[in-house]
């Protein structure tokens, strides 16, 4: 099967990752469809960040394979990363570039031809309301301005897969609202989103499916209804999450950190 015919935008097959003697992620398998918003939940130290870093090619799995749009990250990393964008929890910007220059850089890194780059930059500038500050050097940006610029940069090349780590931290309610609308729009246009967050209300509102990881193992995966059924609890996602992770921690107790 060729990369273009891949049925899933993201495929993790038996992915494990070890740090020394400690297994951060164990035998994780996931298939994410086109236009799906998958939320990844778990307590601190559960293996979320490790999974995200593996998904972005910053870490390699100790075992298993990860494919993005059919491209294996281990053997075809460039092609895989060309279809992916990552918005980290601590957004990185070059302090001595303006927002516009940063967008131009990202467009060039993704190989957009100048005309398309101009069009896309104009589009994301409008979409994220960057007009007022895009010609200032980013050193002076507030957290919200940084986050908007990073999101704009991440969507410049119209990635097939967007990986987002804790996007709502430090944002005001209006920005959170805009972010949620954005994620919905992206999903509607076929972008697959892998969202890691501790904001359970955002996850409950947006996610098509939710994966819960603890102790490196995926202990629950499905729609909110399926998770409720698994937890034998009909309440809010917060209660379901706590019930499942408590059980999961009990199961893993004694296996060592």
């Amino acid at each position: 099967m060729t990369a273009t015919e891949a049925p899933f935008q993201v495929q993790l097959e038996g992915v494990s990752r070890r740090y020394g003697e400690h297994w951060a992620v164990r035998d994780l398998s996931l298939d994410l469809k086109r236009g799906e918003l998958f939320a990844f939940l778990g307590p601190n130290g559960a293996g979320k960040t490790t999974t995200i870093k593996m998904l972005c090619g910053l870490l390699r799995p100790t075992a298993g394979t990860i494919k993005v749009c059919g491209h294996d990250l281990a053997t075809d990393g460039l092609a895989a990363r060309a279809n992916l964008s990552y918005v980290p929890d601590l957004p990185f910007l070059y302090e001595h570039l303006t927002g516009l220059e940063f967008l131009e850089l990202v467009a060039q890194l993704h190989g957009l031809d100048p005309e398309r780059a101009r069009d896309r930059i104009a589009t994301v500038t409008r979409q994220f309301e960057l007009e007022k500050f895009r010609d200032q050097i980013t050193m002076r940006y507030s957290h919200g301005m940084r986050q908007r610029t990073v999101f704009a940069a991440a969507l410049l090349h119209e990635p097939k897969v967007l990986v987002v780590d804790e996007p709502t931290v430090g944002l005001d309610p209006r920005s959170v609202r805009q972010l949620k609308d954005l994620l919905r729009e992206l999903v509607a246009t076929g972008t697959t989103i892998f969202l890691s967050s501790h904001s359970l209300d955002v996850v409950q509102e947006l996610a098509d499916r939710i994966g819960i990881i603890t102790g490196g193992k995926l202990i629950g995966c499905g729609t909110i209804e399926e998770l409720r059924s698994q937890a034998s609890h009909a309440g809010h996602l917060e209660d379901v999450f706590l019930r499942l992770t408590e059980d999961g921690e009990g199961d893993h107790a004694g296996e060592g950190a």
């Binding site: 273009t4 090619g57 190989g111």
Partner: protein, 569 residues
């Protein structure tokens, strides 16, 4: 359909560097002409000082009938570039480690569809600029003085910048390969590997110095010419034909003598070797960089064992500070000693300096005259002072800047900001006193200097320890850089450079006032004895030196205190 495979050429990264440089220059201009002027003036002062010293040196050699275009000077140039190569391998590798494995920028670029070797190349250029900045500042005036003394033609001045541009490529690439290899193959033992390399360099240096001194042992040579030949033979390895440092020295000599063809040949060889080494390092990066980064994160969570370390006892010796300040001081000691990247190069210099002083004790006192011993003693004081100056600039100046990231913790403690600054100064003073005073004492005893001079040198050492520490800590608070987390980059920034230059000026002034009068009077007498009225010159001069030290302590600390109190984070 998947997105097409992009091809971000090196031009993208070049444009990135140019834009960053442009905005930095604009930001600098925005901070006022005083800052720009002070950079230009201070760099100019260092360059002019180095130029004048080199010019005097070359003039002296010419008076000794030593041909400047000849083999002996050629050998000295080879040694000079060989030493610089060694330093560039070390500093290039260390700075590159931070840029490749401990930077947000590298993580950002690696998550983009950019080949690993291009990310490496981009980071390499940045670290090369940082590591070779000092080389340009010192080598440029020296080589200008050489060209003027020799009466070099236009070819020399035309080719000099090209030699400068190409010379650091090969050593810095070698440093890059070592760095990539260490992380790739020994991710869990890189600290130990670095210490092993430092120890090996020290051992090699000791063996080399020891062998050289053995060749010059009393009675080994029948004449001065024979001794000179022995010395030249001992350093001739720096003229090995395969070394790019030799090509640099040789090419510049040919250019100075207007010998067009050999000068260009050596330049071409330097270009080929430099670019080949760089390509090799980039190829190694394409194989090892991402794997190394991955293995680095695999290093596990081995239980950390807290052990007793003598250095941790030092804060308890500082009088007049409370428990909170003592805890802060202890934190500085612990973070310092646990990072060999910080103190590795200084340790190499310190050990070699100690060995050199001990060799003086065994070899010279019976052999050499008073005038020479007198000069050596003064020179040793200057060398120790310069080592203190460089150490304070490199390690102490960035300390306040580095606290910026942790200000949420420190800022909320009931500790006044002034105490942070005092803590940094105390940390520096302890280290300086601990290393410098015994070294000076050893040097003077080895040379058989009289007790009055030993005391004067100890006093000068004390003034240097306090003054240089206060200058670095205080000016570090006057010009902090809270955005940068790499201390080496903070140290080579505007404030760091200015602080280093002021430190050097203070060193010259202090040694000139405290020690130089004694050495001049003793030198003029020819036997170290001078009349009683000599003390009428030495004592007031030493008092003036103490006054200078007082100013060097109080002014920067006061300015640092004011700036720190007004600082918003």
């Amino acid at each position: 359909m998947t997105n097409p495979l992009p091809d971000a050429g090196l031009g993208v990264f070049l444009l990135l560097r140019l834009r960053q440089a442009r905005h930095q220059a604009t930001a600098l201009r925005g901070e006022g002409m005083v800052k720009v002027a002070s950079i230009v003036v201070s760099c100019g002062c260092v360059a002019i000082f180095a130029f004048v010293v080199a010019l005097i040196g070359f003039h002296f050699l010419q008076k000794q009938k030593l041909p400047l275009g000849g083999d002996i000077i050629g050998l000295l140039l080879d040694m000079f570039f060989f030493t610089l190569s060694g330093l560039l391998v070390f500093s290039g590798g260390l700075i590159l480690y931070g840029s490749l494995y401990d930077s947000q920028e590298a993580a950002f670029l690696l998550s983009k569809p950019v080949p690993d070797d291009r990310v490496y190349a981009h980071q390499f250029v940045g670290s090369l600029a940082v590591s070779s900045a000092a080389f340009v500042l010192l080598a440029l005036p020296l080589l200008l003085a050489y060209g003027i003394s020799l009466g070099a033609g236009w070819l020399y001045y035309l080719l000099m910048p090209l030699f400068f541009l190409l010379f650091p490529l090969a050593p810095a690439s070698l440093g890059g390969i070592v760095c990539l290899g260490l992380v790739r193959w020994m991710p869990n033992r890189r600290k130990e590997a670095l210490i092993a390399i430092i120890v090996l360099v020290i051992l090699a240096g000791l063996v080399w110095l020891g062998a050289g001194l053995w060749r010059l042992r009393p009675g080994a040579n029948s004449s001065d010419d024979e001794a000179l030949n022995e010395v030249l033979g001992h350093v001739r390895f720096a003229s090995a034909k395969i070394l790019p440092s030799h090509w640099t020295g040789r090419g510049l000599r040919h250019a100075a003598r207007n010998e067009f063809e050999p000068a260009f040949r050596y330049l071409a060889m330097l270009f080929s070797a430099g670019t080949a080494m760089f390509c090799l390092s980039a190829w190694v990066a394409s194989l090892w960089y991402r794997i190394g980064l991955d293995r680095l994160s695999q290093r596990g969570r081995k239980a950390f064992k807290q052990r007793f370390v003598w250095m941790d006892r030092l804060p308890s010796l500082v009088p007049g500070i409370g428990p909170a300040e003592r805890a802060l001081l202890l934190k500085d000691f612990r973070t310092f000693r646990r990072d060999p990247r910080q103190w590795g190069q200084m340790l190499v210099f310190l050990v070699l300096l100690g060995f050199y002083f001990s060799s003086l004790r065994r070899m010279f006192p019976g052999d050499i005259g008073w005038v020479f011993r007198n000069g050596l003693s003064l020179m040793n004081l200057m060398v120790v002072g310069m080592l203190l100056c460089a150490s304070c600039g490199r390690f102490i100046f960035p300390l306040i800047s580095l606290e910026g990231k942790r200000v949420w913790l420190l800022g909320l403690t009931p500790l006044p900001r002034w105490a942070w600054l005092r803590g940094k100064m105390a940390f520096s003073v302890i280290l300086c006193i601990f290393f410098a005073l015994p070294l000076l004492l050893y040097s003077d005893i080895s040379l058989g200097m009289p007790p009055t001079l030993v005391l004067l040198h100890q006093f000068a050492g004390l003034c240097l320890a306090f003054g240089l520490s206060a200058l670095s800590a205080g000016l570090g608070a006057v010009w902090p850089n809270f955005l940068e987390k790499d201390p080496s980059k903070i140290a080579v920034g505007y404030g760091g450079t200015l602080s280093l230059i002021l430190g050097l000026a203070y060193l010259l002034g202090l040694v000139g006032l405290v020690a130089a009068p004694w050495h001049i009077l003793a030198g003029l007498s020819g036997n170290g004895q001078f009349p009683w009225w000599g003390w009428l010159i030495i004592s007031p001069a030493a008092l003036l030196g103490a006054g200078l030290a007082f100013l060097a302590i109080t002014v920067p600390m006061h300015l640092g205190r004011l700036n720190l109190q007004e600082q918003e984070f």
